[in-house]
């Protein structure tokens, strides 16, 4: 709710009615009518021609049952709503934005701030609209002197103990309290006593608290319990001694803790890394996509000049709702550290020397021509976009090699059936599941937003969760069934007690972690999981509960584009290795005389072994397509310029191909996308989930045996998984303070 919206409403009604009916002049100041609201309200309002109203923020309502719809009147304007909606929601549908502090549409209703008071005909007192169910024929008045006086009174009470430190408050400019006190507050204060002060709490390295500013709306408490699933925050004390806190000194250990910054309507909870760095009106917002995990959360990068200042979530109901994980939100300081900004060649003394692009590309092309084609190997990194992976594969194919893959996919990965590597239920579809079987995956650290969906399902419908894998932390009730493949076998053969739960479930969901891709017996594991899926009737025409949860942003697109290596031991026999941002690929078996090219944006693990460095752009600096784990292609947009002499990834490969004499036929992003359309047309359907067409039942039978070694953990440290997050100071602090507990 922006000030602009509220203020323009106030202005509009003033302009529209004041010449006709001077009594209705809407002002912010106290007026004589406001002192005696009853008398003013008693005068009957003339029925005017009501202009057509549009719902607030394009809100729409779906009436599944037309008989269940009821009609209410908001300021005389009739609106049809389904049964069970609150007065506040009815007002929103009627196009009236009710001021509120404690109400948040994704959290339970508290009704304690009293800012949303409206007048309802035949009710003796104004009612709190967020907590009051709308009844048929209710006549709601949002603009009467009584309602205005109520809001003014509430504002006065809220500001009684709220410090007037807006000039030094980080929320200044995007503060609900500031906006609403301008729109609804009184123009003068009557307060002469001392304001109360509250001791600040230490919630960890991410959230800064100034508890004196807190207005006790309890949104953060409800968020922590309901969405994050941790019981860390609570309310202490009563009356004016009321405080939000953790009771004992304790850090907030949720991986979603950064979201309390967004939902706090005042400046009590703000971002610690962003403190005193910038004001929101001097930032440029760029709507883009997160790449630190395979979820592809929708984010907005706020930048000032060439610097990324902060990252905020963007609403996307199908993927991240309006939350993002702490890694997504706070990894941005890694974009400023350890950056590669010049092409470099390692000299005879082992030191890197900055050279021109012309020389660097000539050296790489020369090295590639000196070896046999099949000794050239290309590895795409975790953060690669689809365009650059397409050009890397095309380039190596033109050079005569087909040993190109994306790290994290393992060898012999099945890239033929999309259903065998996608989250087929879709992220939002997981809410409908009533039994979950997690195989070798810890969604809390692998994909925090997917975990939030599972948590939501567990909380809403008491869905059962069974987990097979090493001991791990969950923020919802779960059964730890076992640690290794033998438990899977028991379930598949029907000898395990969890089988009955799986069989009786209406919508069972099996989630397999992508960490299994790295196992040698992964085909056997997958065939056992498919047997379980067959037994539990997991794949039906109306419900596909067989899911693979990927780890990295590049994985889904790389498999769609067919980045699968030709031979198993390509690294052992490689002479030239082209690492496109690949830092986690195991190079220990690489021969010592091999020539390694590292193209990437961070001086991370891949650089240690590199002979030539080609600096590339990070996700915040380029336009690139990423496909998330459920198969939805999305696009990043450049928010800031590239660092130093760096270039976009696909441009480097296109230039190198020309220098190496195997010129790729595309010069623009549009041309490279039309090439992608031939290979994987789904990557061009932006913001659309493209479900897999064929199910995994078409797969050939597997005769391998599962090994007995237990499943491992795919992500050791939630906060540091890729080059950007490993370079981030904030992420280092988080992993030092939060991971050990």
């Amino acid at each position: 709710m922006g000030l602009g919206l509220l203020a323009s409403r106030a202005l509009r009604s003033t302009r529209a009615f004041s010449p006709l009916n001077p009594r209705n002049v809407r002002t912010i100041v106290s007026t004589p009518e406001l002192q005696k609201p009853e008398a003013a309200a008693a005068v009957a309002q003339p029925e005017a021609d009501l202009p057509k109203r549009t719902p607030v923020a394009g809100a729409r309502v779906h009436l599944p049952n037309p008989e269940d719809a009821i009609e209410v009147f908001v300021d005389g304007y009739p609106v049809k709503i389904p049964k069970g909606m609150t007065v506040l929601q009815a007002c929103e549908l009627a196009g009236v934005d009710i001021p509120r502090f404690c109400y948040h549409n994704r959290l339970s209703i508290a009704g304690n701030c009293r800012m949303c008071l409206v007048e309802v005909e035949k009710s003796p007192k104004p009612v709190a609209s967020c907590a009051m169910p709308a009844l048929p024929g209710m006549k709601i008045k949002t603009d009467t002197p009584l309602a205005k006086k109520a809001r003014e009174g509430v504002m006065e009470f809220l500001l009684m103990n709220h410090p007037l430190d807006c000039p030094i408050c980080d929320q200044g400019g995007e503060c609900d309290l500031q906006d609403q006190s301008m729109a609804f507050g009184s123009d003068r204060g009557r307060f002469t006593e001392m304001k109360r002060s509250v001791v600040d709490k230490n919630l960890g390295p991410l959230v800064k608290t100034v508890m004196t500013r807190c207005i006790q709306c309890t949104r953060c408490v409800r968020f922590a319990t309901e969405v994050a699933g941790v019981q860390d925050l609570g309310m202490l004390g009563r009356g004016s001694g009321e405080e939000i806190g953790t009771y004992v000194e304790k850090l907030m250990t949720s991986e979603l803790s950064g979201n309390v910054i967004d939902i706090c309507p005042v400046g009590a909870l703000t971002s610690k890394p962003f403190a005193f760095k910038a004001r929101n009106w001097e930032l440029k917002g760029t709507e883009t996509i997160d790449v630190t995990d395979a979820v592809g959360s929708n984010i907005r990068i706020d930048s000032r000049g060439p610097e990324v200042m902060r990252i905020l979530p963007r609403l996307n109901e199908d993927i991240n709702e309006e939350w993002i994980s702490d890694k997504t939100r706070f990894c941005y300081d890694g974009l400023k550290r350890q950056r590669l900004n010049d092409p470099m060649i390692r000299g005879a003394d082992g030191r890197f020397k900055a050279v021109s692009w012309r020389d660097a590309l000539a050296v790489v092309a020369e090295a590639m021509h000196q070896v046999k084609p099949e000794e050239i190997v290309g590895v795409a990194g975790k953060l690669s976009d689809a365009e650059s992976m397409m050009s890397l594969k095309d380039f190596l194919n033109r050079m005569g090699s087909n040993n190109v893959w994306c790290e994290g996919n393992g060898v012999h990965t099945n890239a033929d059936l999309r259903s065998s590597y996608l989250l087929n239920s879709s992220i939002s579809g997981l809410e409908n599941a009533d039994v979950f079987l997690l195989v070798g995956t810890q969604p809390r650290v692998e994909a925090a937003m997917v975990n939030a969906r599972i948590q939501k399902a567990v909380r809403a419908t008491h869905a059962k969760v069974g987990y097979v894998g090493p001991a791990s932390e969950f923020n919802y009730d779960h059964q730890h069934l076992g640690t290794g493949p033998e438990t899977l076998k028991e379930i598949a053969e029907g000898r395990h007690p969890f089988c009955s739960a799986l069989k009786n479930a209406k919508n069972p969901a099996i989630i397999v972690g992508a960490g299994i891709f790295e196992r040698n017996d992964k085909d056997a594991v997958f065939s056992v999981v498919e047997a379980i899926a067959k037994q539990g009737n997991v794949i039906r025409p109306d419900w596909n509960g067989f899911n693979v949860l990927l780890l990295n942003a590049a994985q889904a697109a790389s498999l769609d584009l067919g980045l699968v290596p030709e031979s198993d031991n390509s690294i052992e026999s490689a002479k030239v290795v082209y690492l496109m941002g690949a830092d986690d690929v195991n190079l220990e078996t690489l021969p010592n005389d091999a020539f390694v090219v590292y193209q990437g944006h961070h001086g991370d693990r891949g650089v240690y072994r590199a002979n030539v460095i080609l600096p590339a752009a990070a996700f915040s600096e380029k336009e690139g397509t990423y496909e998330n784990t459920e198969g939805c292609a999305q696009q990043t947009l450049p928010a800031v310029p590239t660092v130093g002499d760096a270039r976009d990834d696909w441009k480097i490969i296109r230039a190198l191909s020309e220098v190496a004499g195997a010129r790729l036929p595309y010069d623009t992003l549009g041309a490279i996308r039309s090439r992608m359309r031939i290979v994987a047309p789904n990557l061009l359907h932006m913001d659309e989930r493209e479900p897999a067409t064929f199910s995994a039942s078409l797969k050939p039978e597997c005769n391998e045996k599962m090994s007995t070694s237990p499943f491992g953990t795919a992500v050791e440290n939630f906060y540091m998984t890729d080059a950007i997050t490993r370079a981030s100071k904030i992420m280092a602090q988080c992993s030092a303070l939060l991971s050990k507990q």
Partner: protein, 132 residues
């Protein structure tokens, strides 16, 4: 700024293309006449000779040879006169003159061009920067 403005008189607009054309030649001649002074005050004897400067000035004129709108020509003439005034009043420094009229736009680092011969437009753009 004020002393520059005092000396630059805004002439009335050219009525026709012919008038604008004659004014242009007039201005070119006055620019050429001031070359000896410029050589003197910026001490350019050891790096350039008058004929090179003259061709540098002429190339500035030729850059706009395609313009036929008298109003635009008047505006360009005005800008040129302002520039000439700034130079003759010693409002610039020696390196400005060298940078703009002696070395030229291509800068001090001059590619021999032989390396990039036969390479595509894309590769040439790639070597010069990321945004094209």
């Amino acid at each position: 700024m004020s002393f520059t403005l005092r000396s630059v008189k805004v002439p009335p607009n050219s009525v026709s293309l012919e008038e604008a054309r004659s004014r242009t030649f007039e201005f070119f001649r006055s620019a050429c006449r001031s070359i000896p002074t410029i050589m003197e005050i910026y001490n350019l004897y050891d790096i350039v000779n008058p004929s090179q400067l003259r061709s540098a000035i002429a190339s500035q004129f030729r850059k706009n040879a395609h313009i036929t709108n008298p109003k635009v020509i008047d505006m360009l003439l005005f800008k040129g006169m302002e520039e000439l005034n700034n130079i003759t009043e010693h409002a610039k420094q020696r390196h400005h003159i060298i940078g703009q009229y002696v070395v030229g736009n291509q800068g001090l680092v001059q590619d021999s061009g032989s390396k990039d011969q036969g390479s595509s437009e894309f590769l040439k753009n790639f070597y010069s920067g990321n945004y094209f």
